[in-house]
């Protein structure tokens, strides 16, 4: 919702992922406690309610729904990672999938891909280099954590 509402801030010349994961820290402008009005919109002022003793109490409605935003970010991250793998040249992609997800050793992968072990290591190195560049916004964000 926050990302959707902030869409007008996005400048097309900037990389979307940099905008989404970089400057748009959760709560940077739209604080985590920013309330949502009864109609589901974010409001600029805190939602308040009168208690029985007449005191005003702030209700952080948005705090009850952090998972929606987190889930959206997580889904977007996974989509980026999947897309980066899919974009790899066929042989590099196969090497990554067999190495990382099938957990085969270099000998087994070399046989499947019909290449030497040293060629395989070079293939995997190039694949990781490409992934490092493709996933740079996520790599930088992860490194800060």
């Amino acid at each position: 919702m926050r990302v959707y509402r902030a869409r007008e801030e996005y400048v097309p010349s900037a990389k979307f992922t940099t905008w989404l994961f970089g400057s748009r820290q959760p709560g940077a402008k739209f604080g985590a406690g920013q309330p949502i009005s009864a109609n589901g919109n974010l409001t600029d002022a805190p939602v308040t309610a009168d208690t029985e003793d007449g005191d005003e109490k702030t209700m952080d409605v948005a705090e009850k729904h952090p998972n929606i935003e987190q889930r959206l970010i997580e889904e977007t991250r996974k989509k980026m990672i999947r897309h980066a793998i899919e974009k790899l040249p066929e042989k590099q992609r196969a090497a990554v999938l067999l190495h990382k997800y099938q957990e085969l050793d270099y000998g087994e992968i070399s046989k499947i891909l019909e290449c030497s072990e040293s060629a395989l290591k070079s293939l995997l190195f190039r694949a990781y280099e490409t992934l490092r560049v493709e996933l740079a916004p996520l790599v930088a964000r992860q490194a800060k954590q």
Binding site: I85, H99, K121, S122, Y128
Partner: protein, 54 residues
Amino acid sequence: MSCSRMESKILGYVDGRLKESERLEMEKHVSTCAACRVRVNEFRTVNVLLDELR
């Protein structure tokens, strides 16, 4: 170990598949080479990101 030789070892180092002697050799190189240290950290991060699809 040279930086170019490290290319063939870095992935094994990152995911713990190196022999003990190779791992020690890598650690020695990484402790003195800032560029390779950065690369190791970046590859580690890529590895963590790939884990998210498991």
